[in-house]
């Protein structure tokens, strides 16, 4: 039984993905499928809400890495919000704040999409 799930919501044309549980090499394919679903629906403005994400390993981080360039090439972005401190530490360990907008709250991320005329 997988201890990970992705919930889909939207705010205007921003697609919000609510990540819940533990994201590892076993569950990373579920996040990948969720991002592919967004792409399939031409939704390239993706907001990751990590408030219920309790763990992430490099396999989970790798999914963001694998899609970010393609999404940006298509005029979109992946912004990451509301991470638990211990999960943020993992993003930080690999230098992700250099490459991604990682913000404190979902509202901050929505504001960033708005200010970039997304």
């Amino acid at each position: 039984m997988s201890n990970f799930s992705v919930g889909f919501r939207s705010s205007g044309h921003i697609q919000i993905l609510d990540l819940k549980g533990e994201l590892d090499a076993h569950t990373a394919s579920e996040l990948e499928a969720a991002i592919q679903k967004c792409q399939g629906n031409n939704q390239v403005h993706i907001l990751i809400n990590g408030s219920s994400l309790m763990y992430i390993s490099s396999a989970g981080l790798g999914v963001f890495m694998a899609y970010i360039e393609e999404i940006r090439e298509n005029g979109g972005d992946i912004k990451i919000a509301a991470l638990q401190p211990k999960v943020y530490n993992v993003f930080d360990l690999l230098g992700f704040p250099m490459l991604f907008d990682i913000v404190d709250s979902e509202d901050d991320a929505l504001g960033k999409f708005e200010s970039s005329n997304a």
Binding site: A25, S58, G62
Partner: protein, 139 residues
């Protein structure tokens, strides 16, 4: 001399990673490490086991992986043992984040993370087994 040693054997499938994390969390906590240090060790062992599954056993299921946690007065040592392909140190390169994003690759950070989180990470090949030995000292 080890104060306390516990071993878990799992088949080479990512579906057992959660069990590995619980095993490490439980014994590192019992050994008196801080929550932050336990988180680091849990993640390092997850990365090591993921590497064994994906690279050493090349994704082939049902192969044994032993995870042995030993608590000493000054440190915790975790040994991950498998019978798969040897880890090629010469082929390993430190990942560059920007290059990874451009190449759209999804992996390659495991060893980098293990080295950042643990005080030492050593690989050996003895008697047909690969051993990854990771140490965390008590601060």
């Amino acid at each position: 001399m080890a104060v306390d040693t516990h071993t878990l054997t799992i088949p080479s499938s990512t579906s057992f990673l959660e069990e590995v994390r619980e095993f490490v969390t439980s014994h590192a906590t019992q050994a008196g490490f801080s929550e932050g240090a336990v988180e680091q060790m849990k993640m390092a062992v997850d990365e090591a086991c993921t590497n064994v599954i994906e690279h050493s056993y090349e994704g082939k299921g049902g192969q044994p992986i032993d995870i042995c946690v030993s608590s000493y007065p000054d440190k915790l040592v975790v040994v991950i043992r498998d019978k798969g392909l040897k880890f090629d140190r010469a082929a390993y390169k430190e990942p560059d984040l920007l290059q990874f994003a451009k190449s759209k690759k999804a992996g390659g950070f495991g060893v980098h993370i293990m080295r950042k989180l643990m005080d030492s990470v050593e690989y050996k090949n003895t008697g047909g087994f690969n051993e990854c030995c990771m140490t965390k000292f008590r601060s």
